[in-house]
């Protein structure tokens, strides 16, 4: 990375010196690139679990790293960088949701409360299981079929013996109930 930079700026320099320079400065620019490489998947997953689609998750991930790289000192520890990235991800998400609904969302515990910064595992599955367990059977069933098994509305209607309109109504009620459930926790 650093080598490429220097080479572009100074085509006349010999690579040997540049390698030496890279060893002499393990932090700074290299640290940012390293932080990116180690954190990008975790931040992407964190954001994907909150927006639920690839284009938004990609855009928001890019925004988070752009803000972090432009706004933060380079000589902080990796742990601080990680904490910082999650904080930036949270504020970026809050801005994102404000495009849908312009009210202050700070009461929305799960999506803006600080996550434990050292836990990088994809946490969506246990969260979803816990949430589904709080719902009545018919609500849980429609959400499982639609989201976890990827059934279309038509397939879901067939499976549950309902009309397609009824499936959409059931899905609507189930998501609203689950949303209030999450907010209450």
């Amino acid at each position: 990375m650093l080598e490429d930079d220097a080479r572009q700026g100074n085509p006349g320099q010999r690579p040997a010196q540049l390698v030496h320079l890279r060893r002499a400065a393990p932090q700074d620019q290299d640290r940012l690139v390293w932080a990116y490489q180690t954190q990008v998947t975790a931040i992407y997953q964190y954001l994907y679990a909150r927006v639920g689609n690839r284009p938004d998750a990609e855009d928001l991930t890019a925004q988070v790293f752009m803000k972090a790289i432009q706004g933060m000192r380079q000589d902080v520890s990796v742990a601080e960088l990680r904490s910082w990235l999650y904080k930036v991800a949270q504020t970026t998400l809050a801005d994102h949701w404000r495009q849908y609904y312009a009210e202050d969302l700070t009461e929305l515990g799960e999506d803006v409360a600080p996550p434990p910064p050292s836990r990088e595992n994809h946490e969506a599955v246990p969260r979803v299981e816990a949430l589904l367990a709080t719902l009545p059977d018919s609500y849980r069933r429609v959400l499982e079929l639609r989201f976890l098994r990827g059934y279309s509305v038509r397939e879901t209607a067939h499976e549950l013996g309902l009309t397609e309109t009824n499936v959409k109504v059931l899905q609507f009620r189930a998501l609203n109930r689950a949303g209030r459930e999450r907010k209450g926790n």
Partner: protein
């Protein structure tokens, strides 16, 4: 423009197809919560939520560009690491190389200030000066910054509240008058330095935050 099953299903369909849903204003918070819940459910589907190789490659190029752009700007408060890089026997390298790396100007600067965490942001109100207790640090969150305000008469200092070891949020102990980390027990003094035992283990001091008082309001430089 009340929310209804059709509108919500359109949003759900977009998520299931991994498309960007239309950004339409929503009538109420329930409608927002329903969509956020749909996002969470969507991400639990097996195989969902991993970045594509193509995206990662694109991001790597962007990151390279941002880091390079940053390196070519001169920073307002140079830190230690670049200076030590320059002082460690690299003076023989052509000045052009240093310029390419954005470090040339730093060689002429005086000793660095104490570290500031945020170098590019905005001044944001945190709380009234009168609300900052005279005898103990008080926690605040401003944008992406978690910190402590420490009152000194009519002025205020601010420190990052994030442990420099593993990134946990520090607590203030009134009893022992020190910052304490709930994760591994590291402690920091009121001035931000790691307590002697931890300093000896190589723990760095807490970065300072830029802070000022305007019209009775404490403002922190934050992002």
């Amino acid at each position: 423009m009340e929310d209804d099953p059709e509108k919500l299903d359109q949003h759900v369909e977009d998520l299931l197809q991994d498309r960007r849903p239309e950004r339409v204003p929503l009538p109420d918070q329930d409608a927002l919560l329903a969509r956020q819940t749909a996002a969470m459910l969507r991400s639990a589907k097996p195989g969902a939520g991993l970045p594509s190789q193509e995206f990662l490659q694109r991001m790597q190029r962007s990151v390279d560009g941002w880091v390079r752009a940053r390196a070519s700007e001169s920073e307002p408060h140079p830190g230690f690491s670049r200076r030590s890089l320059i002082l460690s026997g690299l003076s023989g390298i052509a000045a052009g190389l240093l310029a390419a790396l954005g470090v040339e100007k730093l060689t002429q600067k005086p000793a660095p200030r104490p570290m500031d965490l945020v170098i590019k942001g905005d001044w944001k109100n945190v709380m009234a000066l009168s609300a900052v207790p005279p005898d103990r640090p008080v926690r605040f969150t401003s944008g992406a910054v978690e910190g402590y305000l420490i009152r000194e008469g009519d002025t205020v200092r601010a420190l990052s509240a994030i442990c420099t070891h593993m990134g946990c949020a520090l607590n203030w102990s009134t009893l022992r008058t020190q910052f304490e980390c709930p994760c591994h027990g590291a402690t920091f003094e009121l001035d931000g330095s790691a307590s002697l035992e931890y300093e000896a283990k190589g723990l760095r001091r807490l970065p300072a935050l830029r802070v000022r008082v305007q019209g009775g309001q404490v403002q922190v430089y934050s992002v």
